[in-house]
Subunit: 111 residues, 2 copies
DNA sequence: TATAAACTTAACCTACTGGTTAACTATTAT
DNA sequence: ATAATAGTTAACCAGTAGGTTAAGTTTATA
């Protein structure tokens, strides 16, 4: 099983989420779809700038676009967000017992 | 309430997660704490290279280090992972109804 | 038909990533 | 005391991010 493809996608997804403006865009879109122009205005970005963010988000599979006339409607696509979350979820298991293990480990090594 | 500090941390966390090797390191550490050398070997990275990854992960609050003699033990720190997950969680609410909203939205705009 | 609107693309810039090799520091072992 | 181990730091490099301004394209409007 080759997991490299998935890993590359994960890289893209997390990178897309690593920018406050892009997280803001995702937040906006979680409330309702929007246009490129409207997103640019609300996030105080020029059109070329928002364009780049949108392309990144789209390439990561986090959003989708649909053209209607000259207007581009952008909306959230949930699949990739789920992928990111699923990865994080696997480390949720033992969050109840925080960092106790390190001391034990070091103690064990010193014997 | 100023959320900028938290947003900057979020940037760091997600950026840290946007690299396969760093995710691999986190995975390793989720199983047991490790040393810098051991991580370098297992991920086929030179010491300076792994050092940079570790510094990023530490700066993002995802891991912690403890020096014992000349050896550095690295272990997972769960707080930041939780922060990242919490952000993703808020978009989990309506994942049952995927992308139906866009068509409705466009239809609404066209009236 | 001419103009405006809504993007898109190109070219440019500074800063940072992720790796390298080489040199350095601090601790442990012979 | 010398040498090996474990890690850090510095200097370098190609590639990319995230912004800019300017120019181009497609669709709607007056």
């Amino acid at each position: 099983m080759n997991t490299t493809y998935t890993e590359d996608v994960m890289d893209e997804i997390y990178f897309a989420l690593s920018n406050q403006k892009r997280r803001g865009i995702i937040h906006d879109l979680s409330l309702m779809p929007s246009t490129v122009n409207s997103l640019a205005t609300r996030h105080s970005l020029t059109l070329p700038a928002i364009h780049k963010h949108i392309r990144m988000l789209e390439s990561a599979g986090l959003i989708m676009r649909r053209k209607s006339g000259r207007t581009n409607f952008v909306s959230l696509k949930n699949d990739s967000l789920m992928l990111a979350q699923n990865w994080l979820m696997q480390y949720h298991l033992d969050w109840s017992s925080p960092n106790a293990s390190l001391d034990n480990y070091i103690a064990g090594m010193k014997e």
